[in-house]
């Protein structure tokens, strides 16, 4: 009870519909582009250019410029794919699942978390594509009437994955855009320049806040949330099945799909914190993204860390319990093999470090939270590295064992994809409202609901007079 009373609010008191709208729209319309934004954008844009250069070189020379070999034919590209698509999952969790669960603290983090999802999916989609070897033939994966009379193998999880990721990307985009429409109308109405009015006006599609429109809009939004909820679970489960359906020890396990979903939400929440902390600091959004949000997200990280730890434990247990020498070897190889330092680092980062979030002092220390979230991002990337590379490099026959060492091009593309992600985020923060104005007004409305009460009966009496 004591702790309940000390809970910080989801929105600092004193805001009105107008002031909360102005505060958020000012970031886009009134404020001059901050110097920090320009510097950050320049850096991340340089990263994007590096990505373009590395990918161009890849297209010229082929995937041989990477460290991949046989047996490790899935290198960084697949590690990065799983990592990015996982990051996206927290955004959908916040925007859809927490909406259906009526968690009102989701309101102010919802918009940029959705944007994060969209950009993470964009980064993720890049990797299977460039991993193809002949990416210009990517359309072979899509079922279309062709002169060869062939179809994709619909019984393969890799084909399921194509459908899952494309559906996920498109549904995330639709959901994000639907959420943006009332805010685009606000920007249209508040901007001064003709150019901005036209651009935001076209994007807002003539939204005028009609009660009838709101009615259908809310129905549509909730229905989309209800659709996105099972979708997000399905996407990473299918990514997990990409691995689980093969017979490689370390992949061939029934726990893989739910384990992947838990890991996805874990890494995604780490990325939400990584974005939220600088965003609220540099744009002075401490009133909107309060300690309550950071505290709740730290708790989510803790919960997901425990789930992920259960996954690790189960893998170790089944290595022994299966009685299969190859399954037992992969566990031993993880602890003691050539990539052992990464496995130990992963265990420390993903299992031990988040235990710090049991302490309120840590959860409410913004700087520590930010640093830990960065570390967890790395830890979850390591997890995917362990799953992909360590499982592949020593499978059944010692004669076919190998070692994977990433080249400079592997690193350039990984860092470049971070550049792409951050560039998109910088542009988003500059040109679109980073927090949903319409939903924040709803939050203000809930807070002040008790204060204004003009009863229906009063009005009827006045009319009769």
């Amino acid at each position: 009870m004591e702790a309940e009373r000390q809970e910080p609010p989801v929105l600092e008191p004193g805001y009105t519909y107008a002031s909360v709208t102005d505060k958020i729209s000012a970031l886009v319309l009134r404020q001059r582009t901050p110097r920090g934004w320009l510097i950050g954008f320049a850096l991340t844009f340089a990263g994007l250019m590096m990505l373009l250069f590395a990918v161009s070189y890849l297209f010229v020379r082929g995937v041989g410029i990477w460290g991949i070999n046989i047996p490790v034919a899935w290198g960084f590209a697949i590690v990065n794919f799983v990592w990015w698509i996982g990051i996206g999952h927290a955004g959908t969790l916040i925007s859809a699942i927490l909406l259906l669960l009526r968690q009102e603290w989701r309101t102010s983090v919802n918009r940029f978390a959705e944007a994060m999802t969209l950009f993470a999916v964009a980064c993720a989609l890049l990797f299977p594509l460039i991993h193809l070897g002949r990416p210009w033939l990517f359309y072979y994966m899509i079922p279309y009437p062709n002169t060869q009379g062939l179809w994709p193998q619909f019984r393969s999880p890799l084909v399921w994955d194509l459908f899952a990721v494309i559906t996920y990307g498109l549904v995330s985009l639709l959901f994000w855009y639907t959420g943006l429409i009332p805010d685009l109308a606000s920007l249209r109405d508040e901007s001064n320049g003709r150019f901005r009015q036209v651009v935001y006006g076209v994007l807002a599609m003539g939204w005028r806040g009609s009660a009838k429109h709101w009615h259908r809009y809310e129905q549509s939004y909730y229905l989309m949330a209800a659709l996105a909820t099972p979708l997000v679970i399905s996407v990473h489960s299918i990514v997990g099945l990409d691995f689980a359906v093969s017979i490689i020890p370390g992949w061939h396990s029934t726990i893989t799909p739910p384990f992947f979903v838990a890991g996805a939400i874990f890494s995604g929440f780490a990325m939400v914190v990584t974005i939220a902390v600088p965003l609220r600091k540099f744009y002075h959004l401490e009133d909107l993204i309060t300690m309550r949000h950071l505290d709740n997200m730290a708790k989510m990280l803790l919960a997901m860390s425990v789930l992920v730890a259960y996954g690790y434990l189960s893998e170790i247990f089944f290595g022994w319990y299966s009685g299969n020498q190859f399954e037992a070897f992969i566990v031993k190889n993880r602890f003691l093999g050539p990539y052992a330092p990464f496995y130990w680092a992963m265990l420390i980062i993903n299992v031990l470090v988040p235990q710090l979030f049991w302490f309120k002092r840590i959860r409410r220390n913004v700087l520590v939270l930010f640093l830990l979230s960065l570390v967890i991002n790395v830890g979850m990337w390591l997890e995917r590295f362990i799953i992909v590379v360590v499982s592949l490099h020593r499978d059944f026959l010692p004669s076919s064992w190998g070692i994977y060492v990433p080249t400079v091009w592997d690193w350039a593309i990984l860092l470049g994809s971070v550049g792409l992600f951050a560039t998109l985020l910088f542009l988003f923060i500059r040109f679109l409202p980073a927090v949903s104005m319409a939903e924040m007004r709803g939050l203000v409305g809930e807070v002040s609901l008790g204060e204004t009460a003009v009863g229906m009966t009063d009005a009827r009496e006045i009319i009769k007079d």
């Binding site: 519909y17 107008a18 709208t21 079922p143 009379g149 179809w151 619909f154 019984r155 084909v159 399921w160 459908f163 899952a164 559906t167 498109l170 549904v171 639709l174 959901f175 855009y177 606000s186 249209r188 109405d189 508040e190 599609m205 003539g206 939204w207 005028r208 806040g209 009609s210 009660a211 009838k212 429109h213 709101w214 009615h215 259908r216 809009y217 809310e218 129905q219 549509s220 229905l223 989309m224 659709l227 996105a228 099972p230 979708l231 399905s234 299918i238 099945l241 319409a438 007004r441 709803g442 409305g445 204004t452 009460a453 003009v454 009863g455 229906m456 009005a459 009827r460 006045i462 009319i463």
Partner: protein
């Protein structure tokens, strides 16, 4: 349309609070007005019902989308695997439906999501490049903090003087404006 006053789309009243708008809409409904709409910067609970909205059409549209996507998704895989290019792999059934479930589900969700947003646009008549309510200067605030009730001139009961008087005498009204067509 606009039989009563061809020069006007309607009359619009401004309110500062959601509850005042709800009260006003209920009063206008009780007074017999039908051609009207309310505008607000956030969804107001109960207001659509006061304005006579009891639509469940969105649900049907999304359900139809869900079923269409699912049937098309399963049908595509069935056609490819059983009819167009049957492949006997170790005597396994051609219609191996459990492995068709993921793509069926994904396509059902995809089509349903498009149905949800396109259905919402279609029912709401969006995108709409022009609407008379934007001619009211104060209407800018409808996306920021103010609430509006617009009674259209096309309503049978609409009478410029009477309706104006009615709107001006609503509780906590901030202003009444003519809406140019």
């Amino acid at each position: 349309m606009n039989e009563h006053d061809p020069e006007l789309y309607g009359l619009m009243a401004e309110f500062a609070e959601a509850d005042a708008l709800k009260t006003a809409a209920a009063a206008a409904r009780d007074a017999g007005y039908e051609q009207m709409d309310a505008y607000s910067p956030l969804p107001v609970e109960g207001l659509p019902q006061i304005l006579g909205m009891h639509h469940r059409r969105m649900y049907w549209i999304v359900l139809v989308g869900l079923i269409t996507g699912g049937v098309l998704g399963f049908g595509m895989q069935f056609y490819a695997s059983v009819i167009d290019y049957p492949l006997n792999i170790g005597g396994r059934p051609l219609n191996s439906w459990p492995s068709f479930v993921p793509i069926t589900f994904e396509l059902a969700v995809l089509v349903a999501a498009f149905a949800a947003i396109l259905g919402m646009f279609a029912l709401n008549g969006l995108p709409q490049p022009y609407h008379p309510v934007f001619n009211v200067r104060a209407f800018k605030e409808a996306s920021r903090e103010c609430f509006f009730l617009c009674i259209q001139a096309s309503d049978d009961q609409f009478d410029l003087e009477d309706t104006r008087w009615f709107l001006q005498n609503l509780p906590s009204v901030k202003g009444v404006y003519d809406v140019e067509p």
